[in-house]
């Protein structure tokens, strides 16, 4: 006796969220059945393993048939094959595009290419995320990357509209796309402690402040038509302008003046004052050098590693608290405005605003 065929089709497509998650997580049917049994479905409902297997198979088939539609979520809403209430559709899409932070952390900043895809089994082994799930997540990244690559307009908005994702998820994907596009180095050992959410925050900062799209709305309107990836690429003009900041460290007077202004402001406000005073020139040189080198693509990639090496590590070795860092950076930024000979206030603010929030986000254990 063998069950040759066993199907169950509802007019409204029946989908069990628990099974959906197992499917997304890349469980095989048998593993899923086991997981469900351990989950206690059978206890709360009197059923045999056969019933569970049959149900799981049905659901898996349904998901497989739906997967094609989930690749372009807009289709899910106006396709006719499956009748799925809107709120269920939203759930399906949101879950399908959800990803594991551990996994995304591994591929963040890598080229979304076939080569990377081949490494997925290593990543799978390392992160404990099943290979199937890794592939789905990777394909999602790639798919979204490909779609928004060709689109004009704000990145987050594009993602949200084309993939019908929640704002949070759309922002995360924007970060992933942004990282992949600029190929930021995130894999170095020194950067391991930084979580995906930290990076996503930083990406948001960069997108909102350093890209072409970030320039004031009115100004942007005219540029919109010409610039392809307004949110994905950093503003080249801005990067050029950053070179001007070099005076802050090359001009000896300016450097001293800046230091004394900062020190005056800081004195008595922190226990780490001595270290701050001692390290000022070093730190300032570090930050300004990062700024001036950003015209090179290679140095853009190293942006985060530079931040860690040039600023975060020295501070940490001097046992600055997060509050110390914030205090220091605030005064460091503001004091530059008082410098008479320093003419690049706008660029400085645009640069330091992002640096400040990035460092603050990244400054933890």
């Amino acid at each position: 006796m063998a069950v040759e065929l066993d199907v169950f089709v509802g007019n409204t497509t029946i989908m069990d969220e628990e099974v959906y998650q197992l499917w997304l997580d890349g469980y095989t049917v048998n593993d899923a059945v086991r997981a469900r049994m351990e989950g206690g479905v059978l206890d709360e409902f009197d059923a045999t393993a056969d019933v569970l297997l049959s149900d799981t198979m049905d659901q898996y088939r349904t998901f497989q048939m739906c997967e094609r539609l989930l690749h372009s979520p807009a289709k899910l809403a106006n396709q006719l094959l499956f009748q799925i209430p809107p709120h269920r559709q939203t759930m399906l899409i949101e879950r399908y595009y959800a990803f594991d932070d551990v996994f995304v952390r591994e591929v963040l900043g890598k080229k979304l290419s076939k080569g990377t895809k081949k490494d997925l089994d290593d990543i799978s082994a390392k992160t404990g995320v099943t290979l199937k799930s890794c592939r789905r997540q990777f394909d999602n990244f790639k798919r979204i990357f490909k779609v928004v690559e060709e689109l004009k307009g704000p990145l987050v908005e594009n993602i949200r509209q084309h993939f019908l994702l929640s704002d949070k998820l759309a922002r995360d994907y924007a970060a992933i796309v942004f990282f992949a596009n600029n190929r930021f180095e995130t894999g170095k050992k020194k950067l391991q402690y930084i979580t995906f959410q930290d990076f996503a925050f930083c990406a948001g900062q960069l997108i909102n402040n350093w890209t072409v799209g970030a320039v004031g709305e009115g100004l942007c309107k005219t540029k919109n038509n010409m610039v392809e990836d307004m949110d994905v690429d950093l503003d080249k003009e801005f990067l050029q302008e950053l070179k001007e900041l070099k005076v802050l460290i090359t001009d000896k007077d300016l450097l001293d003046q800046h230091k004394s202004l900062v020190c005056t402001a800081l004195r008595g406000k922190t226990k780490a004052f001595n270290e701050m005073e001692a390290n000022f020139k070093n730190l300032s040189r570090g930050l300004v050098n990062i700024a001036t080198k950003l015209t090179n693509t290679k140095d853009v990639r190293d942006f985060f590693i530079d931040l860690v090496e040039k600023f975060i590590e020295p501070c940490r070795s001097d046992r600055w608290t997060a509050a110390d860092v914030k205090l220091y950076l605030t005064h460091y930024t503001n004091s530059a405005h008082i410098l008479d000979t320093f003419k690049h206030q706008v660029v400085w603010d645009r640069y330091m605003g992002v640096i400040k929030s990035c460092i603050f986000k990244m400054y933890h254990d």
């Binding site: 006796m1 063998a2 069950v3 040759e4 065929l5 066993d6 199907v7 169950f8 089709v9 509802g10 007019n11 409204t12 497509t13 029946i14 409902f45 009197d46 059923a47 045999t48 056969d50 019933v51 569970l52 049959s54 149900d55 198979m57 049905d58 088939r61 349904t62 497989q64 048939m65 289709k75 809403a77 106006n78 396709q79 006719l80 094959l81 499956f82 009748q83 209430p85 809107p86 709120h87 269920r88 559709q89 019908l164």
Partner: protein, 1138 residues
């Protein structure tokens, strides 16, 4: 030129990539109707083309409009090679031909390809302009409305019910034509789909003509089936009930009604009390129809003794002529046997199959028959001495039409029978002949319409298929059905009934053997309805002078007590105490609205497998017809046992299917068991050993007896069956004869010491005896006890709704499930097979419960199982059903409604209602302890072996007082509750006034029109005739679709399961799309008629055919204003399904 069909192709979307190079498609569309074809421009390089074509106009006969579908083909333009077809859409334009149905078809249709499935969608607009046609001889029947619904459709009232209409058309199956060898599978499939579409169109048109001839304007309970006879052809046949329907606008009807005398009908739907006066009657004098058989029937029904064949001469001669010409050798036994066969086989609804009486009737039949085969059907009854009761009339026509496949014999047969048949067919056209069969495909009726119900009548016949030589003259098939219907009719007569309700027909075909089956419920319909038509005033007051109260009348026996066609065990009605009722009642109809039911009902299934030797031709057919009576008998015994085990006494919606395979027969009977308050309490099940001396055996018997008794007790509790048996003596109604009385008490004593006293003689036997000496019986008992009850929160039934549940919420989930089992073990025994088959069905049910576990409390309604043996070792079971949620807390909402509407005629008899009500409430929600105490006591008393009669009666009367009091308070209380829910519902619904939105109660089930994101209308589907919580405001036409899907890459599509899963999903999608395009938002009375799956995994191939039908409707949520009246309406719909 009576019609102009206009079509416009707007756009396409999600088209498949047809050009690999560009990853795009150059699509254009061909629009074809009849022989005319139009083309759109090519929309180059787009997967979402915008054609926005002109209006293509077809000027056609309305006859063609009815027959032909509009055929839309989407193609990919190719400059150099032939254009590739992407897929097709067939649009049935019938709904547009009816002024009251849809006026335009507009929407997105899935583009369907028989090889690839759905490939994108196309937006189409279709309109029809009909010109007035005054041609009296026209062949079209535009305007006749068709309904699959087996009750008077909602918002209509039946001015007249004309009766049975049937028609069949035959053709060669394109799959078996020579050309099929040289064409692609796609072309073959499309030819088949198109042909079937044409044939169903033609069939519908022909039926429509018959209806017009009868003076009707609609067909209700339209049931169309395909017989894929393989080599011998393709038969499309349909039956239905012709009616004259009148639409009434629900709100204003009662005010604007022109004739005060007909007021009740017009506001029928507003209040069940005076409504639902669907007047069934003969034609008005102005129509030229001859006198109706109805008028003649009540008088004639009694005149012919049940045993005498009373067929019209012409019929008789024709059928025997067929036999004569085709089977000269067996002519004698055949023609004689068939008639005795009617009662030789247990043709009784209430045949109390006593060991003593049955052998008597058996030989009697044999005497008549004098044929070697004739004795076989009687065999089980004479040899097996257990006293199972057969309550159905069953018969087997074994006339094998041995016309063989030889051209010669077939040809000669045609020649001989030809002229006569033609004559016959012409006669059939006349209204007189039309009324020959007083059959109704309806399953629910307005209160008072059914006077008495006799029992199930059914007939089966095994035929050998031969080639249909002349598709225009399908007499052979006609004659086959004719015979069967005659038999049904005479069975009904034998039961003293003049009509058959809940009538249906089906076939099972394996190779060249075909089993034709028909079944229905013999009944007596209210003669007043018949005679006086819609003009009577009497229809209102009839209920006052009606001898039996309406809520138990239908249970009363229709036949003469002294002259019963079979030995039966009768008792006085437990409600009115005036009329006799049988102890068990089997019917194919839904539970009448007025019926009083104790407790809840449940699904009861009997399953059976019988092995059969492989054989060919006549031998095979003989073997099958020899097996049939045994199967019917065993199925019946199983049903009986299971019914008793659940302590119930009636079956509704009984459907018995016998499927034939090469080496086995499968039998499946499904029904909803209930405890009818009017019928006596069923006795228990007695286990008897054949050798009483054996101590071991005795112990074994005792053990089994205990298990059974426990099961019965448990079931009583589960289904809340606390029969108010105490009213027996308490009410002071005519007390049954002493014997009956003792019987009642005896039934409670099932202790084993009674065993020896067990009297098997007629009249006293109430306990059901099972002998367990043979293995069969052990098997029976085993299967009895292994049937698991549905898990907590679930109910299941095969009828439209579950008796005992009234407060449905709007959550529904329709589903189709198919399971195929491969029997690898070649040396299977009958027992082994039975076990496998039973497990298959049980496991399916368990799967449903599990899958739908999030929707509890819910009821699986209209569980419709279909079995088939597609290949030698395969068993296929397909199920379509709907899960409906209900509100557990308001269990009492309905009964009070009922009670108040019936207020006027409420008598002592109706105390059962409140009583049942209180029993109900006590077990579902914490109620005053006194009542639950009563309920408990009731159980105790029914089971107690020795109850002191005196105190018993005393207590009874006090309880009665108490109950009456409680009933009133409860009634008031719950009316309040229902009001509150109304206002609640109001606050919700007023927001979405008039939009077809269900309340978002159960999220997983709830479907709603999608806002914003989605442009797809949510379409609900249900096999029932109504949608809970909504009101059907318009019927848009019948949906009748046939699809073929084939694959040559089975593995790639996920095996057979993957293949069928996507196909079923596609069929649903196409049904929904058509309904949405008609402007509808739901399908009611949906059913999947056929699901034929053929697979060849070795070749990586599979093919599947699916036929679905239903009624497209627009329904709206019940809004506050109508809510007050509508609660009644819904209830009416629920029980009356009117």
């Amino acid at each position: 030129m009576p019609g102009k069909l206009k079509a416009k192709i707007v756009a396409g979307r999600h088209l498949p990539v047809m050009d690999r190079a560009s990853d795009l498609t150059d699509a254009f569309v061909e629009v074809k109707f009849g022989n005319t074809t139009f083309k759109t421009d090519v929309c180059p390089k787009s997967l979402n083309p915008q054609w926005n074509s002109e209006w293509f106009k077809f000027e056609v006969d309305d006859e063609d409009l009815q027959d032909e579908p509009l055929q839309i083909t989407v193609l990919d333009h190719d400059t150099y090679s032939a254009n590739d077809a992407i897929g097709k859409v067939y649009i049935d334009i019938d709904p547009l031909l009816c002024t009251e149905a849809a006026s335009i078809i507009s929407g997105w249709f899935p583009i369907y390809d028989t090889i690839h499935g759905i490939r994108g969608e196309i937006n189409v607009l279709v309109k029809v302009e009909l010109f007035n046609d005054l041609n009296r001889f026209r062949q079209s029947s535009c305007g006749v409305k068709f309904f699959c619904t087996t009750s008077i459709p909602y918002s209509y009232r039946a001015v007249m019910v004309h009766g049975f209409v049937e028609e069949l058309v035959v053709n060669e199956d394109p799959e078996y034509q020579w050309i099929d060898r040289i064409r692609t599978p796609r072309a073959s499939n499309e030819a088949r789909q198109r042909l079937i579409s044409l044939m169903s169109g033609e069939l519908q048109r022909k039926i429509g003509l018959k209806v017009l001839e009868m003076g009707g304007n609609a067909v209700v309970g339209y049931l169309q089936c395909f017989d894929l006879e393989g080599e011998s052809g393709l038969v499309v046949r349909a039956i239905g009930t012709a009616c004259t329907l009148e639409k009434f606008s629900s709100g204003s009807a009662s005010i604007t009604c022109p004739h005060p005398s007909t007021a009740p009908p017009s506001n029928a739907c507003n209040s069940p009390k005076d409504g639902k006066e669907l007047v069934f009657g003969e034609e008005l004098p102005l129509s030229s129809g001859p006198p109706t058989p109805f008028r003649a029937l009540p008088s004639s029904s009694s005149s012919p003794p049940p045993f005498s064949p009373s067929k019209p001469c012409s019929r008789q001669s024709s059928s025997s002529d067929t036999d004569l010409s085709l089977t000269p050798k067996t002519e004698e036994p055949l023609s004689v046997r068939r008639r005795p066969g009617i009662f030789l086989c247990p043709s009784s609804p209430i045949l109390s199959a006593d060991t003593l009486s049955l052998p008597g009737s058996g030989p009697a039949g044999c005497g008549h028959g004098s044929a070697h085969r004739a004795t076989t059907p009687a065999l089980p009854f004479s040899t097996q001495s257990d006293s199972a009761l057969l309550r159905k009339s069953v018969s087997f026509t074994e006339d094998l039409l041995l016309a063989a496949s030889g051209m010669g014999s077939g040809g000669s047969a045609g020649k001989e029978a030809g002229p006569l048949k033609t004559l016959l067919r012409q006669q059939t056209q006349t209204t007189l002949e039309q009324r020959e069969f007083p059959f109704f495909t309806l399953t629910s009726f307005p209160p008072g319409f059914l006077v008495h119900v006799g029992g199930v009548v059914s007939a089966r016949s095994v035929k050998l298929l031969d080639r249909i030589h002349n598709p225009d003259e399908p007499e052979t098939r006609d004659a086959w059905w004719e015979e069967i219907r005659q038999e049904i009719k005479s069975h009904a007569k034998a039961l003293g009934c003049h009509a058959v309700v809940g009538y249906s027909e089906n076939t099972s075909i394996c190779e060249e053997v075909c089993i034709l089956s028909a079944s229905g419920t013999a009944a007596i319909l209210n003669p007043r309805y018949m005679r006086e038509g819609c003009l009577d005033v009497g229809s209102i007051d009839h209920r006052f002078d009606d001898p039996s109260p309406p809520n138990c009348g239908f249970c009363h026996i229709p036949y003469d007590e002294l002259n019963m066609p079979f030995p039966a065990q009768l008792a006085y009605c437990y409600q009115c105490r005036r009329q006799k009722v049988p102890d068990v009642l089997f019917t194919t109809i839904d539970l009448p609205a007025e019926a009083a039911v104790t407790g809840k009902g449940c699904l009861i299934q009997a399953r059976l497998c019988r092995l059969k030797k492989k054989a060919q031709g006549e031998v095979n057919a003989t073997a099958i017809s020899n097996l049939l009576p045994f199967m019917e008998y065993e199925l019946h015994t199983q049903l009986m046992n299971k019914l008793k085990l659940r302590s119930m006494n009636a079956l509704f919606g009984l459907h018995i299917q016998i499927s034939v395979g090469e080496n086995m027969l499968l039998g499946l009977a499904s029904a909803t068991g209930v405890y009818l308050t009017a019928l006596p309490a069923p006795g228990g099940i007695q286990i008897a050993g054949k050798t009483p001396g054996d101590l071991n055996n005795e112990q074994h018997v005792a053990a089994i007896q205990k298990r059974i008794n426990d099961a019965i007790a448990k079931n009583k509790e589960l289904y809340q069956i606390n029969p108010p048996e105490l009213t027996d003596e308490g009410v002071g109604s005519p007390i049954p004869e002493p014997r009956q009385r003792s019987r009642i008490f005896r039934s409670h004593s099932e202790s084993s010491d009674e065993l020896s006293e067990l009297d098997l003689s007629h009249g006293k036997k109430d306990a059901f005896v099972l002998e367990i000496d043979d293995t069969d019986a052990v098997e029976d008992i085993h299967s009895l006890l292994t049937d698991a009850p549905p898990p907590a929160g679930f109910h299941s039934c095969s009828t439209e709704t579950m008796p005992g549940i009234y407060n449905w919420t709007s959550g529904i989930q329709m589903f189709t499930s198919v399971r195929v089992l491969r029997l690898n073990n070649t040396n299977l025994t009958n027992q082994g097979l039975n076990k496998i088959f039973t497990d298959l069905c049980e496991n399916l049910l368990k799967s449903f419960y599990f899958k739908l576990r999030s929707t509890v409390p819910c009821c699986l309604c209209h569980l419709n199982f279909t079995v088939a043996v597609p290949e030698e070792e395969l068993v296929q079971v397909s199920v379509t059903a709907v899960a409906m949620t209900f509100d557990k807390d308001q269990n009492q909402e309905k009964p009070p409604e009922k009670a108040t509407t019936k207020g006027g005629s409420e008598t002592e008899d109706q105390l059962q209602f409140p009583l049942e009500l209180s029993a109900d409430s006590s077990s579902t929600s914490p109620q005053p302890s006194k009542i639950s105490g009563v309920a408990e006591n009731t159980i105790v008393s029914t089971r107690a072996v020795s109850v002191d009669y005196g105190s018993f009666a005393d207590r009874c009367s006090t309880w009665l007082e108490l109950l009456r009091l409680k009933a009133h308070t409860i009634r008031r209380g719950s009316v309040k509750t229902s009001r509150r829910t109304q206002s609640l519902a109001h606050s919700v619904s007023s927001l979405e006034h008039c939009s077809p939105l269900p309340e978002g109660r159960s999220r997983s089930l709830c479907s709603s029109r999608s806002f914003g994101v989605g442009s797809v209308t949510m379409v609900k589907m249900t096999p029932l005739s109504f949608l809970p919580g909504t009101r059907i405001i318009k019927y848009l036409g019948i949906i009748n679709m046939f699809f073929i899907r084939e694959t040559t890459s089975l593995r790639e599509e996920g095996g057979v399961s993957g293949f069928l899963h996507s196909f079923i999903a596609e069929v649903f999608a196409m049904v929904r799309a058509h309904v949405a395009a008609l402007g509808g938002n739901a399908v009611v009375s949906y059913s999947m008629k056929d699901c034929v799956l053929m697979e060849n995994p070795n070749k990586n191939q599979a093919q599947c055919l699916i036929n679905v039908s239903g009624d497209a409707v627009i329904c709206v949520r019940e809004t506050d204003q109508e809510q007050t009246t509508n609660t009644g309406q819904t209830c009416g719909t629920i029980d009356g399904a009117t």
